[in-house]
């Protein structure tokens, strides 16, 4: 059994971690078994280099009432790396007996979702967990404890009203050197709602003629039910100097643990449990609007307007602030005036700590929606609380509101509460029904056709740029332009010569000769006018025209010269043959580009 407890304690002490890119997010509970009437603390710890940490979300709180119990942050700089540790505490009060899972808790940082493992907790009926008593210290321990170190616990009041603050103080006295920071374990506070108070600075005190360094821890407690309530023992663990042990030990002891811990002893100190008597709130003269607030409070109730229209809400902003159990302040009770609907439009809470007093405020926004026009007097907002110092109830009252409501009750659509003026002047009722069921497809916007349409201008722009580039090249590169033009011009020339077959031979072959020279000039970007046969041969050689094509071309040119200058009268067939040969040669040269 002892082993099982030890194992459970170890498992509880090991938090469940979620690590994501340098961030860790862990959850732990201070106990896994508790009874009805007890409460447990759920602690969420986020560690990493994060500047702004949002509030974590707890997905499943089962049959527990959940209260946020504060947040603390610690930032460290190590080797230029900033590490922040943020701790969120939640108090969970069980409602039912059984085994429940709490969580997982979730946290979203920079789009990354961190999650903890759920915590399993068993809730037992009240009184089923035996209270563990501290082992009775030996006389020597007591003597030594009183002498060197000891712990005391006290409360500022032992008799309070339900929901009245009790300030619990634990003092740790030390007159010897400690080997390590003492570990503090707060007491169980079943039957109380607790709030941690700011840590106190250490100071020196003299007790029984001896000077002690005293460290204080304070906690505000609010009893949740009447009767005798017990605050458990606070525990402090520390390691103290033990010179006797240092010299008494066997110098040849091979136990390394003992060897390195020579001269120190671990001490567990427990404070005395404290009983607090919680008195019930007086019932005889309890005001009707009392909702359980205990403390010293003030109230401010403001109306946002004094005139409105039918169905248009007028809002009362009620702020209640002061010292006391702020959590116990509930929404003020208001009687719903006739012809009005009342609803809670918003609320917020602020908790403050002034010295050892817990305080703060709550703000409620109540909206009153008139159903009819007219002049109305809305009753003042009232709020009552119990003042434990005065031992009586105190009632606070705001100002009543004289409200003018304009507008009409009925409308074309059969609705009350909307004035004609408020309505869209172009529309005083619903528009006509659609007679056609229409297509099932949705809007053209966002459809594939819509996105395809958007590509058209890009294509148009691309085509324009391409064409412009081609044109620019033609205009700037004469060689390219002439070469490209050669093919077009020669085709046109051949067509014209074929059409002029009735011309005299000299003129016919003259045209053929000119066309061939112009083609060669354009094709190879040279001045064609007045080129000799030798120059043409050199040109064809330099452009690596195949021998047979070169010969054919030169033969054609020779034939044309013969017809032009020697009076040769070729037949029609010879003309056709010459033209066909020209076409073949040109086609071959074009093909070799």
């Amino acid at each position: 059994m002892k082993k099982a407890f030890f194992l459970a304690a170890v498992l509880l002490a090991i938090p469940v971690w979620t690590v994501a890119q340098g961030l860790s997010f862990s959850a732990s509970v201070d106990k896994d078994r508790l009874e009805i009437g007890d409460q447990l603390t759920l602690t969420l710890v986020i560690t990493g280099n994060v500047q702004k940490i949002p509030e974590p979300k707890i997905r499943n709180v089962g049959d527990f009432a959940l209260y946020a119990s504060g947040r603390s942050q610690n930032i460290t700089f190590v080797n230029g790396v900033v590490t922040s540790t943020t701790q969120f505490n939640f108090v969970l009060v069980p409602k039912k007996v059984g085994t429940f899972k709490i969580g997982p808790a979730e946290l979203e940082i920079d789009g990354k979702l961190l999650q903890t493992m759920p915590q399993t907790v068993t809730i037992l009926p009240s009184g089923s967990i035996p209270k563990q008593r501290a082992p009775v210290p030996t006389e020597a321990q007591v003597r030594e404890g009183l002498k060197d170190i000891f712990v005391t616990a006290s409360v500022d009041k032992s008799k309070v009203y339900v929901s009245e603050q009790v300030t619990y103080t634990v003092k740790f006295y030390q007159a010897v050197r400690l080997f390590d920071n003492p570990e503090y374990y707060p007491p169980t506070v079943t039957g109380f709602w607790k709030e941690d108070l700011p840590p106190q600075t250490s100071r020196y005190e003299t007790v029984g003629g001896r000077r002690y360094l005293v460290s204080e821890v304070k906690m505000a407690l609010f009893p949740t039910a009447a009767g005798k309530q017990t605050i458990g023992e606070a525990t402090v663990k520390c390691k103290v100097e033990d010179l006797d042990a240092l010299f008494d030990r066997d110098p040849f002891n091979v136990d390394l643990n003992q060897f390195f811990n020579r001269g120190m002893r671990e001490r567990v100190l427990r404070s005395n449990p404290i009983n607090v008597e919680a008195l019930p709130l007086p019932e005889g003269n309890q005001p009707d609007d009392f909702t359980g607030a205990v403390g010293q409070f003030q109230m401010k109730a403001e109306w946002n307007k004094t005139a409105t229209q039918v169905n248009e809400p007028v809002t009362a902003k009620i702020t209640i602030w002061g010292t006391g159990n702020v959590k116990s302040i509930a929404e003020p009770k208001v009687s719903t005036p006739q012809n009005f609907r009342v609803f809670l439009a918003g609320s917020s809470e602020r908790l403050t700590r002034e010295g050892t007093r817990i305080g703060g405020g709550k703000t409620f926004e109540l909206s009153f929606v008139p159903r009819e026009p007219g002049s109305f007097s809305l009753p003042p907002i009232t709020f009552s609380y119990f003042d434990p110092a005065k031992r009586r109830y105190v009632s606070l009252k705001g100002q009543p509101l004289h409200l003018t409501v304009t507008g009409t009750r009925e409308l074309a659509g059969g609705y009350s509460g909307i004035t004609q003026k408020e309505l869209d002047v172009k529309q005083t009722d619903l528009r006509y029904l659609k007679k056609e069921l229409g297509d099932e497809h949705g809007s053209f916007v966002g459809s594939p056709g819509f996105w395809a349409l958007q590509t058209l201008p890009v294509l148009l722009l691309g085509a324009t740029m391409l064409m412009r580039r081609v044109r620019d090249r033609e205009e700037s590169d004469v060689s390219y332009f002439r070469s490209k033009r050669a093919s077009k011009m020669v085709k046109k020339g051949l067509k014209e010569i074929r059409a002029a077959s009735q011309l005299p031979p000299a003129e016919y072959f003259g045209r053929l000769h000119k066309m061939l020279l112009e083609y060669l000039g354009d094709r190879f970007n040279v001045a064609s006018w007045g080129m000799t046969r030798g120059e043409i041969e050199v040109l064809l050689n330099s452009n690596r025209v195949a021998e047979e094509h070169k010969v054919s071309l030169l033969e054609l040119l020779d034939l044309a010269d013969r017809a032009r200058f020697s009076g040769w009268q070729p037949s029609l067939a010879e003309r056709e043959e010459a033209l066909a040969k020209a076409e073949r040669v040109i086609r071959t040269l074009e093909g070799s580009r």
């Binding site: 997905r59 609803f343 809670l344 059969g414 509460g417 619903l430």
Partner: protein, 246 residues
Amino acid sequence: MKKLLTLVTVFLFTVPAVWGQENDPKKLFAEANRLYDAQNYPGAIQLYEQLAGQGVRTPALYYNLASAHFKTKAIGQSVLYLLRAQKLSPGDDDIEGNLRFVSQFTIDKGTLSSPPLAFFTELFPLGTWALWGTVCYFLFTGIIALRIWFKSRAFLLRWGTWLVGILLGVFALGFYLSWSWSKVPKGVLIAREAPVKSGPGDDFVTQLLGHEGLTFQILEEREDYFEVLLPNGVKGWVKKEEAAKV
């Protein structure tokens, strides 16, 4: 035997015809419209919903269903179906008009989108941004193409490029923001009144009470709850059974 054959023949020819008539979407729609005109709004809703149950999803069906719900004073349902119709047919003037009209009957007022976004999303519907954005886009690329082709630095083309370019920028931004906004999941409160909780459970504090027709942005969806962002900037949790996704 002859009688049996006659019966089978009658069955084979009449039943599919009657069945087909009863399930013909266009006829059902016309019948629902007739019931609406006869002020039998619950009957019309039943037929419209039967059509929706058959998988018909048209802006006209949602639009008419919204009108019928409005007549039965179900403001939340009316807003819901108008938003669904608007999602299918952004820019439809009738849908926009009825949505403005019905929204005046909701208790919780306010625009869902944040101020810079609201300016664009409320100035024009998505369809208008898309139409004028596309026109400017074609004009702009046309002017650029002309300038490239003619290598022109003419005053008119130069200033035309700037003017149309600025217009294109505005409409493109408007379209982008409206388009992104249209893709954000939204919901509508359909229960008459529903608490907006601080967490996904009954144990959490009620931050405020929402009323039917309250539209919200859905931030997260859980088994029983939506995490919502309300028009007033409040984040909270709403039970799924009290709301519906647009």
